[in-house]
């Protein structure tokens, strides 16, 4: 009998799976892995099987369930265990999701296009003005999603350093840092939502205060929990995908040239980046609330279940040449945004920001290249959001 391999593992290249994931994939599409605390959990690595289990009615997101798998010490915190939407099952999840859908639908996001394009242009103007080398993390990848979500929610962008710092610690910090950063953010949002309930402004938080809190459908604590999860989710994922996607493109010069020669490929290229870099590594952490039969395996009620986007996105059963980065690929199907009722609320906002950012960078910075060797880029994060801490690039100015 094969021993359950350890999960998650650290990447050595920012956009490639850790070496050990190959062996995990070979034991898939469903196997058991060992977590940091010595407990075992089921892991789904097949693409079709990932979609199947993520739409299974016996899969639960209840993080307070004693069988819920904890993939890193920071996820023991009360805040991580009680995240709005993410840690909820129907019917409560669906009620919250319905409140938010009108504000994140594809149609709603398309109306934001001109505003986001102007924001991207302003950031890229500053990069051009700065001249090479410039750090794409601090000059675009981090501030762009931050500014966009702050405007959308109606929270002051002046406080973005605080949001970035807190979100980073909650997602990637030690158990202690994660807990205290989460509490700081809750305290901030407590004051902010109180102001919005008393005197609602234009953004999403003000809208929810007016339409849902004043009507008694949500409490102030519910609104704080919603604002918290939207801020954290928006600050981490788009930022990392932008950075890892740019590294991947620059490390594949023939693909970069192909895209630059035909920018109509961009939407496809964005899907391929999202598939290939698998920023979120682990796309789902769940517990079975009833028995589940999948791919010949029997998962019992109370057992933990993980879904690896990194491995499922490179599944030879559904992807041609799964390990190859191809901006014109037609089979870009991925589970990076998850699948089932919890699929990413902000996916269309993320896609649009990525599209506009890559468009401006590629067309305005000629001969764009990494200013350091890819091996020198500091990597952070295993199991959740994969990050590089800085990304110096150069171009012909």
């Amino acid at each position: 009998m094969t021993e359950a391999p350890p999960y998650p593992q650290n990447r050595t290249c920012p956009y490639q799976p850790p070496e050990g994931y190959r062996a995990i994939g070979e034991q898939g599409p469903v196997l058991k892995v060992t977590l940091f605390d010595g407990r075992e959990a089921w892991m789904v690595t097949g693409f079709k099987e990932s979609r199947e289990i993520l739409t299974h009615p016996n899969l639960s997101s209840q993080r307070t369930h004693p069988g819920f798998p904890i993939v890193a010490p920071r996820f023991r915190s009360a805040i991580a265990r009680n995240l709005a939407l993410i840690a909820m099952d129907p019917p409560q999840h669906d009620i919250y999701r319905r409140y938010l859908n009108p504000h994140f639908s594809l149609k709603a996001v398309r109306r934001m296009r001109d505003d986001i394009e102007q924001v991207v242009r302003d950031f890229v103007d500053k990069i051009v003005e700065h001249g090479p080398p410039a750090d794409l993390i601090s000059m675009l990848a981090v501030p762009l999603p931050s500014l966009i979500i702050c405007r959308h929610l109606g929270v002051p962008y002046e406080d973005h350093d605080f949001f970035q710092d807190s979100s980073g610690k909650i997602m990637l910090g030690s158990e202690e840092d994660s807990t205290s950063a989460g509490q700081d953010l809750v305290d901030y949002l407590d004051k902010m939502t109180r102001r919005e309930i008393d005197n609602p402004t234009e953004g999403l938080i003000g809208t929810l205060a007016r339409e849902r809190v004043q009507t008694g459908e949500l409490t102030q604590d519910d609104l704080v929990a919603i604002a918290l999860v939207l801020l954290i989710a928006a600050h981490e994922t788009t930022s990392s995908t932008l950075a890892l996607g740019m590294i991947t493109l620059l490390e594949h010069p023939e693909q970069y040239a192909r895209l630059r020669a035909d920018m109509s490929l961009l939407p496809k290229a964005i899907e391929e980046i999202v598939r290939y870099v698998s920023t979120t590594d682990l796309v789902a952490v769940r517990v079975a609330k009833g028995d589940i039969e999948i791919a010949g395996h029997h998962i019992e009620a109370g057992e933990g279940v993980l879904v690896s986007g990194t491995i499922a996105n490179r599944d030879g059963a559904v992807h041609q040449r799964p390990e190859e980065f191809d901006v014109a690929r037609s089979d870009t199907h991925h589970v990076t945004f998850g699948f089932g009722i919890h699929q990413c609320l902000g996916q269309n906002l993320a896609r649009l920001q990525l599209e506009l950012a890559f468009e401006q960078l590629i067309t305005r910075l000629p001969d764009l290249r990494l200013a350091v060797d890819v091996d020198e880029l500091p990597i952070h994060g295993a199991g959740t959001v994969q990050r590089v801490l800085n990304l110096p690039v150069a171009w012909s100015s």
Partner: protein, 63 residues
């Protein structure tokens, strides 16, 4: 081909509308609308793809 959508299941991901824009739309609440329930032959591959992409399994086609 006849296309139906379960608006109760829809989570507003918008994959249908992005994939087959002549067949699917969203209302002001972000919920799916089937604008052409009987798409022509030219649309059928896109509709099949849209059904496959729907994360909420809210779309169905019958022949």
């Amino acid at each position: 081909m006849r296309v139906t959508a379960d608006r109760e299941r829809c989570i507003s991901a918008g994959r249908c509308m992005a994939t087959a824009p002549d067949v699917f739309d969203q209302d002001d609440d972000g919920i799916v609308l089937v604008t052409h329930p009987e798409p022509g032959a030219a649309e059928q591959d896109l509709v099949t793809e849209a059904v496959d992409q729907c994360p909420a399994r809210a779309l169905e086609v019958s022949l």
